[in-house]
C-alpha cells in the first residue's frame, strides 16, 4: 500500500504538494479552492508591513517554457491580511504565511502577526531588493540572512522556512547562514527579462523580472541537490514542477515536499490531483511505500 503523505518541519502534509507563494493566494477564497483541488497546504502571497499596489501591468508575461513576473510586491499590508488568513485557515489544512521585508525587524513584526493570525508556519521571502547592495537581493547577503532567520527563530513559536534565491554565486553559503530555519525553500525565480521586438521595449513595466516554470526546473533540482548534500537540511523544492516525474526528481534530489506555482497556469488547477495520481502510480510500480523512502535517494 502506497502512502503519499509526508512531513516538513514536523508538520504533517497529506501529500507532498503545496501552492507556491504569489500564485492564486491573495484572496482567502482562492486559497480555500486550491486546498479543495488537492494541495496539502498553501503558502500565501508575500506580505509586507504596508499596503503596496505594486508595478503597473504588464506584471506577468507568458514566455516559452514559463512565466516572467515582476509584480512589485503588491500586497494589502499585513494588517489587511487577517481576513484572508481566516478564510484560508477555514480549510483546516496548513497555511504558511509568506512575508518580506528589508530588515530583521520588519520580518519579525510580520512573523509575529502571521503567528497571531494562525499561520501554521512562516516562510521568509528573502528575494526582495536589498537596499544596501545594488541589483542584489536580501537573500544574497549571508550576514543579513542569518540575522533575519535567527531573530525569527528566537521569537516565534511556529516553524520558520527560509526561501532562498538562486541568483547568488554560492547558495551553500546562504543555506548555511539560514541553518537555524526549520526548512529551506528552494528556489525563487531566476532573474530574466523579455523584450518585445516590435515595441522595442522591455515588456515588464519593471523591465527585469523573475523566470518561473519548466525553464527553471533543472536549476531548482540542482540547488535542492547541492544544498541537501552540503547541509543535510529539510528542503521544500520549488521551480517548474508540472507533473509527477518533476516532483519525484525534486524528492530524489533531497526535497521532503514541493511547491507548485506556474503549473497552475500551464496545467490548470487539476494539476494537484493529476500529480498525486501519477505519484501513486510511480511508487507502486517502483516499489516505494512512503515518500520518505524516496527523499534524497539520488544524492551521492
Amino acid at each position: 500500500m502506497v502512502h503519499i503523505d509526508t512531513a516538513i518541519a514536523g508538520i504533517q502534509l497529506s501529500n507532498p504538494m503545496m501552492l507556491a507563494s504569489g500564485i492564486l493566494d491573495e484572496n482567502g477564497y482562492t486559497m480555500l479552492e486550491i486546498l479543495k483541488k488537492g494541495a496539502a497546504a498553501v503558502v500565501t502571497k508575500s506580505i509586507g508591513t504596508s499596503e503596496r499596489t505594486g508595478y503597473k501591468p504588464p506584471v506577468v508575461v507568458p514566455i516559452q517554457g514559463g512565466l516572467l513576473n515582476a509584480v512589485g510586491l503588491a500586497n494589502p499590508g499585513i494588517d489587511n491580511f487577517r481576513d484572508e488568513m481566516k478564510i484560508a485557515l477555514s480549510g483546516n489544512r496548513p497555511v504558511f504565511g509568506s512575508i518580506f521585508g528589508a530588515t530583521a525587524d520588519e520580518f519579525l513584526q510580520l512573523g509575529l502577526k502571521m503567528e497571531e493570525y494562525g499561520a501554521t508556519a512562516v516562510e521568509l521571502n528573502l528575494s526582495c531588493p536589498h537596499v544596501a547592495g545594488y541589483g542584489t537581493e536580501v537573500g544574497s547577503d549571508p550576514v543579513l540572512v542569518e540575522d533575519i532567520v535567527n531573530t525569527l527563530k528566537s521569537n516565534l513559536k511556529i516553524p520558520v522556512f527560509a526561501k532562498l534565491s538562486p541568483n547568488v554565486t554560492d547558495i551553500v553559503e546562504i543555506a548555511k547562514a539560514a541553518q537555524k530555519a526549520d526548512a529551506l525553500v528552494l528556489i525563487n525565480t531566476v532573474r530574466a527579462m523579455s523584450i518585445d521586438i516590435h515595441a522595442r521595449k522591455a515588456v515588464l513595466t519593471n523591465r527585469y523580472g523573475g523566470l518561473s516554470g519548466q525553464a527553471i526546473k533543472n536549476v531548482g533540482v540542482r540547488y535542492v541537490y547541492e544544498v541537501s548534500k552540503e547541509t543535510g537540511k529539510e528542503i521544500i523544492g520549488v521551480g517548474g514542477i508540472e507533473n509527477a516525474e518533476d516532483l519525484i526528481e525534486y524528492i530524489m534530489a533531497g526535497a521532503s515536499a514541493v511547491q507548485i506555482g506556474t503549473a497552475l497556469y500551464t496545467q490548470g488547477k487539476d494539476v494537484f490531483s493529476r500529480i498525486a495520481a501519477g505519484l501513486v502510480e510511480f511508487m507502486e510500480s517502483e516499489g516505494f511505500n512512503r515518500i520518505s523512502e524516496m527523499i534524497g535517494v539520488a544524492v551521492e
Binding site: 492564486l24 484572496n27 505594486g54 503597473k56 504588464p58 506577468v60 494589502p76 506555482g261
Partner: protein, 250 residues
C-alpha cells in the same frame, strides 16, 4: 505580445472609440484581450468585433484607457489573448442587457432577432443601442436624458422574459447583482460577464478572483446558477494591492 497595425479608429461619442485591426484568429463572443500600451499599462478589453477584422471598443476611464483612445490609424496595437470563457451563443432568442461600456463585449451577440436593454449614466454614454433592429431596444439612463429614467433593471421589468432562450448581461457588478436578484426565481436562463481588476489575464495573480474562481480563465462569463452560489458576488472584491473592500456602485 501580438502586434497589429490599426486599420481604423471609429469615434463613438465623447470618450469611446472602436479600434479595428486585421487578426486571423478565432475569437468567441465574451472573450477579451490584455491590451498593452507601452509606457502606460496593460488592461483587459473585450473583443467587440469577432470577425477577421477584429475590433475592441474602449471607453476612457483612467490613465491607460484615456491614452488608448488617442491611438490612430497606422499605429500599432499590442495585446495577448484571446482569453476567457466565451458566452454560450447557441440559444436562439437572445435578450441582451448592457450597462455602460459593458455593451462592448455584448456587441457580437446582437443579431436581427435580439432584444436589448441598453443603460448608461447619461445619454451620451449609451453604447451600441443603435445596433439592434428597429424597435428591439429599450434605452435606460440614470439621469433620464434618454429613454427610461432609472437603472437597467427598470428597462427589464416591462419585458416578457419567458419569450427568451437566454439573457446575456454585462455591466457594473451591482447592476448584475440587481438583475440576478430579479431573475432568481424566474425561469429565464442567464449568463453574466463580470469585471474585476485583472493584472495577469491567465489565472495566476489572483487579482480577479471571485469565490476562488478566476474571472480571467474560468470567467469572465458565469451562468446564473454559478453566480448564485458566490459570497463575493456583488459584495466584496480585492483592490490592486489585494485589499478586501466592499463593492460600491461604480
Amino acid at each position: 505580445m501580438i502586434a497589429k497595425i490599426i486599420s481604423e479608429v471609429e469615434k463613438l461619442g465623447r470618450n469611446t472609440v472602436t479600434i479595428r485591426f486585421r487578426w486571423d484568429q478565432e475569437v468567441q463572443p465574451g472573450q477579451f484581450l490584455m491590451v498593452w500600451l507601452p509606457r502606460h499599462s496593460e488592461i483587459p478589453i473585450s473583443v467587440s468585433h469577432t470577425g477577421p477584422m477584429k475590433g475592441i471598443t474602449i471607453r476612457s476611464y483612467g490613465e491607460t484607457s484615456a491614452a488608448m483612445i488617442g491611438l490612430r490609424e497606422g499605429d500599432r496595437i499590442f495585446f495577448r489573448g484571446p482569453y476567457g470563457r466565451p458566452f454560450d451563443t447557441k440559444p436562439v432568442r437572445k435578450l441582451i442587457v448592457g450597462g455602460g461600456s459593458g455593451m462592448a463585449g455584448l456587441l457580437p451577440l446582437i443579431d436581427s432577432d435580439a432584444r436589448g436593454v441598453v443603460s448608461a449614466r447619461t445619454s451620451s454614454d449609451l453604447l451600441f443601442a443603435d445596433r439592434f433592429a428597429e424597435g428591439h431596444v429599450t434605452v435606460v439612463t440614470d439621469d433620464g436624458s434618454s429613454g427610461i429614467k432609472g437603472y437597467a433593471i427598470d428597462g427589464l421589468k416591462s419585458l416578457p422574459l419567458d419569450e427568451f432562450d437566454m439573457m446575456y448581461v454585462c455591466g457594473p457588478e451591482l447592476m448584475l447583482k440587481s438583475i440576478l436578484d430579479y431573475i432568481v426565481d424566474k425561469p429565464i436562463p442567464a449568463q453574466f460577464s463580470l469585471e474585476r481588476i485583472m493584472k495577469c489575464g491567465i489565472g495566476v495573480c489572483d487579482s480577479c478572483s471571485i469565490d476562488g474562481k478566476q474571472l480571467c480563465t474560468e470567467g469572465p462569463t458565469f451562468t446564473k446558477e454559478e453566480l448564485l452560489g458566490m459570497h463575493e458576488f456583488g459584495t466584496a472584491r480585492l483592490t490592486e494591492s489585494g485589499k478586501r473592500i466592499q463593492i460600491g456602485r461604480h
